[in-house]
């Protein structure tokens, strides 16, 4: 099977922890969000410290960490939200 390319966005504390706002990661299918997060935490240990305050999104929907990922998905990691 062809590798799956996933786009990842980071916001607020998570953007600062990784040092940039977005990147792309190629994974071997079947890919899950859990595996992606594991890879990211190895690459950016600071993300691990934020785990308890992390909200995970796929294609702008809040999801649980066990969801499967497919080609072109947009994953986002950020802390609890609140405008105003």
């Amino acid at each position: 099977m062809r590798p799956t390319e996933i786009k990842i966005k980071f916001f607020a504390t998570h953007r600062e922890a990784v040092g940039h706002r977005e990147e792309a990661l190629t994974m071997n299918p079947p890919a899950t969000l859990g595996e992606l997060v594991k890879t990211l935490e190895q690459r950016y240990p600071a993300l691990r410290q934020l785990r308890r305050s992390t909200i995970y999104c796929v294609n702008r929907r809040v999801v649980q960490i066990d969801v499967k990922l497919k080609e072109g998905d947009e994953v986002a990691l950020f802390p609890p939200v609140g405008g105003g």
Binding site: F78, G82, G83
Partner: protein, 147 residues
Amino acid sequence: MHFFHLSAGAKLIKITRKDFDLRDVISAVKSPRAGAVVTFLGTVRGLSEAGRVKLLHYESYRSMAEEELLQIAKEASKRFDIIETAIIHRTGKLNVGENIVAIAVSAAHRDAAFKACRFVIDELKTRAAIWKKESTAGGERWVKGKV
């Protein structure tokens, strides 16, 4: 000023770096059927729990935040007898006194407009993918959002 024209009930939903004129937000919701327009304007306060505020830095996941604001406007239309809702929220560095967020709601009668406007700002505070970093003399800190 450019506005997205959206479905009935949500005339203007926007996250933007630019400042806005409250009159434009009001114009977006005016209607011959309306007897009341209620607005809320949020501005940068010079004092916070952490002390004197130098500026606030707002960041958003724009596409997700705009979708959620539209959803909040739709929910307001279902809960209250209103005509149109407009929501505009700024991002970037904002100084004390600057505009942050504006909400305008039109309705036939004031009671529904007041209640819906209150509902929209309360929901926006906990649901929109927006984050705020506060800069004071003591340093910078992210203001905790709701889980």
